[in-house]
Amino acid sequence: MTVRKTIPVVIVFVVAVVVMMDYFLVLPPVSEAGKSWTSGAVTNIQNWGIILSAFALGFGAVNLFYFHSRHISRRTPGQWMYSLWLLIVIVIFTVIGVSMGATSDGYSWLYNASFFALSATVYSSLGFYMTSGLYRALRFKNLESGIFVVVGLVVLARNAPALTVYFPALGVWGSFISDVLTTSAQRGIMIGGALGAISLGIRTMTGRETGFLGKLTEEEKGGGAVA
């Protein structure tokens, strides 16, 4: 293993072990408040994580500037005007947010009148695509799709509040579908995902997974020598 890989992997290993120990165990010596000696260290680690997350937001904005400035300077066809508009909006929000405060009336007005309205509109427009998709895709073509159609119809009907008043059986069928069929399938997916996350965590802690280190040569990864 090279230094470029060894040091980050050791840091990840130590931090992960301390955080996991604190999550699962209360190791002596224990303070009067009943907290383990790892508690203070983990509080600091978590606060670093929060600071890094906040930093990443700012770094993302800088990266956006860098990426879209190139489009503007190169006049990329069909793109540069959108890039310019994006940067103008970022500047407006930043200037008002920094000068007046992110909870000021001015900033709130700007947010409600632009981003909030657009965001809600874009999300709501999904309803149209879903309705059209429902009409064209939910078809009885074979046994599997037939089961899908029947289950879909029951769930749709059950989710219409007034229908469950007139047809109480929908509630029973709907509950069976959601509580038995959906939950059991979802549990399988979740357990599979959790096992994957555990194995990825172990691989990362032991340096077998190097994606988080960025681009490494084969030699840096600990594999064969580079030609």
Binding site: Y23, T43, I50, F116, T131, R139, P161, S178, M190
Partner: protein, 283 residues
């Protein structure tokens, strides 16, 4: 005749999307303008949510996560508002809000403008309720607040020190809270609170998510990790229980009619397909 039949089924099977959208808009707008007052049955989950808050003893402290984004506000906002009405109506409950979504503080302001706690309930900011703002890091933020709130943030959302607000007296970590409520448009938040708070501190947890997220969260509720799971679309039910009819109850008619329209679309699409097949036009 056969050729004519075939063309009818063809037309029916391939209704232009503009027509589908047009009918949807009419069905959507009509009940908004002329409310039909269709019945809104109150589901067991909403009742359980209501009971959980109703049974809180006086002096209880509740943490609310405004973890949704602007796109989800039309669905989750009415639920958040109705639950706040319940908490303020009940009285004697300290309500501390934080956000794991960066838009949370703005959306909280929007909710408060709708609720008007001072005018309507005589509730005071900093005494009965407070917002400690957005804390970056999602699951890391949840864990950090649970471990030591003051070490994570020392100010409320406008940047004033938490020490000057009496509501924060004695609030140290997750054990200081009697109930956790989360409204979210993201799985990271809804599942994160289970992992970082329920599992570690066993804080009773109420969760409201987008309707399409409910299936992914159901296993947590069925395992007892969430006391009650609701979708924002059930806001009308909550408003009925709290007796504060607002946006949620208004949208209940729309939800019923648009779902019925979707049922009709599925039936028509399938009838057209079967008709085409039986008239010899199917593949």
């Amino acid at each position: 005749m056969s050729g004519q039949d075939k063309s009818i089924w063809d037309t029916l099977e391939n209704i232009p999307r503009e027509v589908l959208y047009g009918i949807l808009i009419v069905v959507f707008v009509f009940p908004m303008v002329y409310p039909l007052g269709l019945p809104v049955p109150i589901s067991e989950n909403v009742r359980k949510w209501y009971r959980t808050i109703d049974e809180l003893p006086s002096g209880s402290v509740v943490l609310i996560d405004f973890g949704y984004s602007g796109g989800g506000e039309p669905e989750l906002g009415p639920m958040a508002v109705a639950v706040y009405h319940h908490l303020f109506k009940k009285g004697g409950i300290k309500v501390i809000c934080m956000s794991t979504s960066i838009e949370g503080p703005q959306l909280w302001d929007k909710a408060m403008a709708e609720i008007r706690p001072e005018q309507r309930y005589g509730a005071q900011y900093g005494v009965d309720y407070i917002n400690i703002g957005y804390i970056a890091g999602t699951e890391t933020a949840m864990a950090a607040v649970g471990k030591d709130l003051r070490a994570t943030t020392s100010t409320e959302y406008k940047g004033n020190s938490l020490d000057q607000y009496s509501i924060m007296d004695g609030i140290v970590d997750a054990t200081s809270f009697d109930l956790l409520i989360c409204y979210t448009t993201g799985g990271d938040q809804s599942e994160g609170w289970v992992r970082q708070w329920f599992t570690v501190y066993e804080t009773p947890y109420l969760c409201s998510v987008l309707a399409m997220m409910v299936p992914t969260m159901l296993p947590y509720q069925n395992a007892g990790q969430i006391v009650s799971l609701t979708s924002g679309a059930q806001a009308g039910e909550m408003e009925s229980l709290v007796k504060m009819p607002a946006r949620g109850i208004k949208s209940a008619d729309v939800i019923t009619l648009t779902h019925i329209l979707c049922l009709i679309y599925v039936v028509v699409g399938n009838v057209a397909q079967i008709g085409k097949k039986s008239s010899g036009g199917g593949r």
